[in-house]
Homo-oligomer: 442 residues x 2
Amino acid sequence: MSATYWCELAWLGGDEPEAGVVLTLERDRFASVESGVADPPAGATTLPGLTLPGLANAHSHAFHRALRSRTHAGAGTFWTWREQMYALAGVLDPDRYHALARATFAEMALAGITVVGEFHYLHHGPDGAPYADANAMGWAVLSAAVQAGIRITLLDTCYLRGGFEAPLDSVQRRFADADVTAWARRTAALETRPTARIGAAAHSVRALGKASLEAVVDVARERAWVLHAHVSEQAAENEACLAAYGVTPTELLAQVGAPGMGFTAVHATHVTDRDVALLGRSCCCLCPTTERDLADGIGPARALRDAGATLALGTDSNAVIDILEEARAVELDERLISGERGRHTPADLLRAATSAGYESLGWPEGGRLEAGALADFTTLALDGVRLAGTAPADAIPAAMFAATAGDVRDVVVGGREVVRDGAHVDIDVAAELDAAIRAAWA
Amino acid sequence: MSATYWCELAWLGGDEPEAGVVLTLERDRFASVESGVADPPAGATTLPGLTLPGLANAHSHAFHRALRSRTHAGAGTFWTWREQMYALAGVLDPDRYHALARATFAEMALAGITVVGEFHYLHHGPDGAPYADANAMGWAVLSAAVQAGIRITLLDTCYLRGGFEAPLDSVQRRFADADVTAWARRTAALETRPTARIGAAAHSVRALGKASLEAVVDVARERAWVLHAHVSEQAAENEACLAAYGVTPTELLAQVGAPGMGFTAVHATHVTDRDVALLGRSCCCLCPTTERDLADGIGPARALRDAGATLALGTDSNAVIDILEEARAVELDERLISGERGRHTPADLLRAATSAGYESLGWPEGGRLEAGALADFTTLALDGVRLAGTAPADAIPAAMFAATAGDVRDVVVGGREVVRDGAHVDIDVAAELDAAIRAAWA
């Protein structure tokens, strides 16, 4: 199975896009990528606009999509928001979870997202008892991504307790395995698919503690899985960790060997200078639209990069599904507190939105338009009202600072067309979202 | 001329929308607004989704639209950005200015904006000599809005010098009248239209100085014009004002009597506690997407409201034209630095986006869906992917936190349909933007 696309403009990694780029596909990979081809070859599909590598969403909780518009207006803090989220977490079963995740992943496809890291912790029945297949919820979310046409890394999350000194509350029993051994046994039964891989997540230092954290790191290393963890999203988490162990969450993760082994720290908002240095061998996944919504604060993105960390991006709570918005927010939020522009170039931001996310999710062969890479790509229209007037040389800053998910026109994942002319090829996304969200709250 | 619309949902000012709202129009006003009507009356046009009062864009520099995608990637500060903006300001003539403003205002119409305050300072020829009609540029921008179908308040801007001690530079000569008397004489020739009004602007305290500022205030008061001024967008402006007069820009404006007379302070980013108190009888127009882009900082929106100020919103540099995005940014940016959610309710934000902006621009009879008010309204589709799943009771937070300009479906200004099913009724907006921006840079 082969196919040829001719892109009016495409980003091959530089500060400016290349014109006339021919993408030749063999099965799910690029066989060749050639630029400077003035006219479309015979039989090629023409892609007007700007073609990018597929966008990577490195941190998602798909079911939070049902909270959109229902929780933003609330007063209070992250912790009051969490109560509302738990009310939803308490009522989902595998069928409703699948329907909601399928529609949400299809919305991601429309936004140009070609791979998602689903930070999955909703494992067990409402009373905490495992389903007949203990991975019923995991399969529900994994197959949802396959049906929606995007890649997934199911980051199966180990969650053991409510906090350093806190037992599980009634909703958290759904999240928890008995111990790391039970988590490792359950997750050993998860199988990959051509577009689905498995990874590990430690929910947070507070939900595991040091010994269990170390055990999860060991399992991930043995299985060559990537490892993700929520890190210092809230100052309260730091204080609790300091009280329990005398070190920050990042220091605790460093003590158990997480950095340097395919580890991604999610958020890294409230980190010390020492934490920043320790994260220099890791990926840091920022989720700026969620961090705004939840009043988390602004993480030190530039300092993390200066320390050597790579940055990736996530839609997290899915109140917004727009990786372009996440990317520009990394730069714009930092401008607000630094008073300086240009902390990250558009190409820096685009790497975070593509190759860095792929690598964070255990797909290092994706996120780039080059021979041998996964044939995943996303084309933005440049002729809509938002981007009209863009000069070709400015197409990369246009994509990073002015485009939205609504400008995505075509999406291909592993050589398969998933979005064509702004519509999902298989799924009526708005209708399925509406039905799934109603069902979730029924 | 009369017409009747039946809105599935409409916002009449409360925390939740009303269902089944019948809008009856007589010429350019609402004759009646009735809610709870289950079925559309015979002959009524049905508006599915959520109908809002028309959105007010209280601070725009239309020509900056040609900078979109061209300046965001830059390093440096506000002041280096300004050099790029001046390069564009140096080359526009009335024809090119008109074409660019017409396309930009049409983009605003597509975004649901029904009234714009154009902070207009590009008055004279490239060498500073007046055009044969000294208001040629003003007429160009005013007629652009009329043709684009939206209301305008032409805020004709008095600009006299480059800074407290600085003469005009070569580009600034285009902005400057000889003195306030010359500005007052020139602007006396500006005439209103049914959808166009005139107001005054003092560019900034640095561009006028105290005596001239006071003279502009007097002219505005005599003519019953609203008065706008850029206030404390940059810390450097404060420092220069303190050095020149020993007071802050807001204190200087208070000394000459600006607050309490239809005055709008644009930005108010770097203001002291005393400034905040002084602004309590004014409107403050925040422009969050521009303030992010230019690394200005985050203004004290909640404190200004607590002091009694009303808030309005502006797209300013038009790097983004989306009042819904501006509205949510007021709340979300403040969450980032306060760690608290719910500083402004969705209804607070929606008032800023509608009635407060209308009042700031000298149209106090607009921005509300009520009998006697201007028949300006904007309908958001709730069935697109971003808003799918919204419960009717949550439609206001959905509009404020999840909708974008791309969700605007229908727009009516003064009883006239300007946008229908997401398309401008008269103008191919993307094509005109493309042509006008190319011509501006040619």
